[in-house]
Symmetry: none
Subunit: 194 residues, 4 copies
């Protein structure tokens, strides 16, 4: 019997290596061989777990999107009113990306690749869901009937945009302190519950 292997664990190791390499050189300049070396194995072994180089990038995106969805689900269980929940979301997302800097850097490649291949990764759906979740929270806040100055869906678009746009700036320029930006975003874009 051959060496017993935990396929999922092995897959995870390779993916983690790939994320590190993608973060370092960018997807376009990352060679399968680099990834294999980073994972401490031979080129061919990568293909036992991933069907192609592109498959690795997709898996990286899947990981991110899964985490995001978990985060959004967690927000629903967060104590406090909707303002507090939105604040929690903003802080959590930025904290997550600050922590997982490599994953965040890969975002740039995922964005670029995802925009061209809707069949490959449904970026549109991902952001639609994201906006919808935020809009639902914003809307809940207005149950009292007060008319907000900005419609919830547009407000959600701007809030989501501000998060992503701050991440973008941080990726280009590490002197931008991402974690610290949570408070300005909350202050400016999360309406206080009356």
């Amino acid at each position: 019997m051959p060496r017993q292997v935990d396929r999922e664990a092995r897959r995870g190791e390779i993916l983690a290596a790939a994320v590190r390499v993608f973060a370092r050189h960018g997807y376009a300049d990352s060679r399968i061989e680099d990834i294999a070396r980073e994972a401490g194995m031979a080129k061919g072994s990568v293909y036992l777990y991933f069907s192609s180089r592109e498959d690795l990038l997709r898996a990286a995106f899947d990981g991110m999107s899964t985490r995001s969805e978990e985060l959004i689900a967690e927000v629903g269980r967060h104590p406090g009113d909707t303002s507090e929940r939105l604040a929690f979301l903003v802080r959590s997302v930025l904290a997550l990306l600050t922590r997982e800097r490599d994953l965040a850097r890969v975002l740039l490649d995922v964005w670029s690749a995802g925009a061209r291949k809707p069949a490959w990764v449904d970026m549109a759906a991902f952001y639609q869901d994201y906006r919808a979740a935020v809009a639902a929270l914003l809307d809940a806040r207005d149950e009292d009937g007060t008319e907000p100055s900005v419609a919830p869906y547009e407000h959600a678009t701007v809030l989501v945009g501000a998060i992503e746009g701050c991440v973008l700036q941080w990726l280009f320029d590490p002197s931008v302190d991402l974690a610290t930006l949570a408070e300005p975003i909350v202050t400016l874009l999360v309406p206080r519950t009356r």
Copy 2:
């Protein structure tokens, strides 16, 4: 010097063709031959005006950044108080990108490539200048000494981020109406002058 004029015009045609091709397939999947064909000339001729494929992407970015800088300069000459100037900036940027959709799509590739090669295109500097200009406007507004709830530079980061983040969402999903998002951004993030 008619030769000189010709040369610039030819360069412009090629760059425009490149932008169309990049927008369609993405930089990674755009071949020099595609660009030459789109520009109605032979492959080799492209090299008489651009030194490499990457040079075309850089030129596309240069075009964008020049336009942005012009826009920012224009903002300074815009009549009205700082709130109106900021509103004008937001509207102008979004209108520009809505109009130049191809250029906007190339942004994804520029971001991705720019993040890896600081020497190639100084994305950090570009956004630093962008933020600085916005922060200056925000700061001007507070000359009276009132303490704003969010420091100007952070506020600028969030405002710039919101713009870029809304563009991002629009690029993935054309059902997001970019031009229309100007008002929510203005309402939410441009402080009204007292």
Copy 3:
């Protein structure tokens, strides 16, 4: 020695599986893994019985050539005169290949590989022996001293060629009825004993 018997049986199973796979996809497009799966075992196990992929093809050829030699030997024991013996040979060969269609299809690969590697499989010797056996039969018929219109060895070459050439056509086109071709070959190429 039951172990020994087991071993031979196992080898036979694998070889049979290989022949089926080779017949289906051709040697060039047959993977060791396909053969192992067809034989109901793991890839590595194949190597316990055959030293390489090529070894399987050689073994397939060996099987065919052994059968052919048996057939030729049997012809010597066949009752009747030489005409009848030759007729029996033609019919037997064509019947054998009709029955073992998979083996026949592998012939194409064996021919192709065999022509390049004399050391690997001695195709030249095989056909030399084949022709010699047929020529001997043809010659025997002429013991009376009558001069035949075609020398025995050349006649044998044409007869063997006709058999192989009919097989070839049948392999390309199943609508060619191989078994039925035995009679035309016999009529045209096996001289009647006077």
Copy 4:
């Protein structure tokens, strides 16, 4: 303007080089690089004229089949009765292959590849046409109403088979004198006109 090139001539040179290389090592063991070197050019240049390695093999077959068809057409214009025409066909085919030994050696690869990929090269159709042409000649001979001992189509199959089968033996064993075999084949398989 770039160097002027006769595309057809260049294609021909490369194909000729490919045939030499295929003849030497067999298709399976021929590298594109070997072919390029044999043709005195760089690897990439081969792809300016042929879309793939397989395309080269197909082109080799196309060349052969075109020549064969020309030969068959020529037979129709050959003076003499049908016996003489058939004899001419047999002699011409064997002379052609004797002359073009490299092309003949590639036959083995073409047979092997062609049998697996009907869409790629229609071997069945090629031999059907071949048989039909020969059968037509055999049939013409019987216009007087005499019943032949073997039906024309089967006779044609055997005659075509004998030719191919002799070629096969010659390919394995150069001591088989192919050109010389024309007479035995004619004597044995081409019915004399009464």
